[in-house]
Symmetry: C2
Subunit: 193 residues, 2 copies
């Protein structure tokens, strides 16, 4: 049964890959990016160094792969939140709330890791996906009359995403919910229009 | 007249310092941070290498000094805008508009310079001054009934400054003015309150 065999191999490889990423992330969190070596990761993951190098060329590549997986999970979570709602205004508000709460915990990487991770090209791609997701929601909500139509959807999305990034500086969930309230108020139809 | 003599010396030193900063900034903009040497800066500024080293230890220090001067000028500009207004709501709106337009051009540093500059401790201090300036304006505007009072001034300032940073992604001044309109709408008293 070559097909089943291949699936087993692929599943095994994926399990090893995930173990490597989780181990590296934990070690980097404990010791800092520059203090972790490939040998330490191999040892803690319970694999040989030669095997580790078949998966990743260096520590930085493992950390970036972890971050890509994390960003992918966040985008999937926001898409799932969107799909829970049929009303466009409610969907937009729910996704913005979800994004704000994700943003509050996002910056909490140890040491110099945040600036390292956010220099990567993979975050640009993720940012574009996020922007596209929110822009579509804004356009739908505008078409449904739930938000203002005097400003283009991509400008409204740019405003909302930047404003919600303020969540990283806020102390608790209640403050994050108040922030979402402010951002949503900015999106409402202009009362003077 | 020792006092006058000292003033002349200080004035001369300040002129040389400014010339060095402007020269270094121009060269770094043309060639990139890593390609510019102290010798090139000395030559283009019309001073000796030994003299240059009496002012700055390396190229990075000159670029940071330029950036500190630039940030100081921006903060002074915002304080001047504030002082043009007696009405607290008008002062807040004017300062937020000024900040948005400064933000639009702020990110336009060549190459890897933006991430280098924004890692520096001097930008943290500047950020705190900016935050304090806007928080005071927000508190005054709230006390005057011009904006909402259901959220603390420092949270409103955090929201406004993050949202206005979106200006760096906007194509023109008209879009920046629309962004200021969105942010200001978020600050208005909650119509449901």
């Amino acid at each position: 049964m070559p097909k089943l065999w291949n699936e087993t191999i692929a599943g095994h490889r994926e399990t090893v890959r995930e173990t490597i990423m989780d181990t590296a992330w934990r070690l980097v969190g404990e010791r800092g990016l520059s203090a972790v070596t490939m040998s330490q990761i191999a040892e803690q993951a319970g694999i040989g160094r030669a095997t580790l190098y078949k998966y990743f060329p260096d520590v930085e590549a493992i950390v970036i792969a972890w971050h890509e997986r994390q960003i992918g999970a966040h985008l999937a979570r926001l898409a799932a939140i969107r799909d829970e709602h049929t009303d466009p205004g409610a969907a937009l508000r729910a996704v913005l709330t979800g994004y704000a709460h994700l943003s509050r915990h996002r910056g909490a990487h140890p040491g110099d890791l945040t600036s390292f991770l956010h220099r990567g090209a993979h975050t640009d791609t993720a940012q574009q996906h996020l922007r596209a997701l929110v822009t579509h929601l804004v356009a739908d909500a505008a078409a449904a009359g739930a938000i203002r139509t005097d400003t283009a959807p991509d400008e409204l999305a740019t405003y909302a995403l930047h404003a919600l990034a303020a969540a990283a500086d806020l102390p608790d969930d209640a403050a994050v919910n108040r922030l979402v309230g402010l951002v949503t108020a900015g999106l409402l139809p202009d009362p003077g229009a």
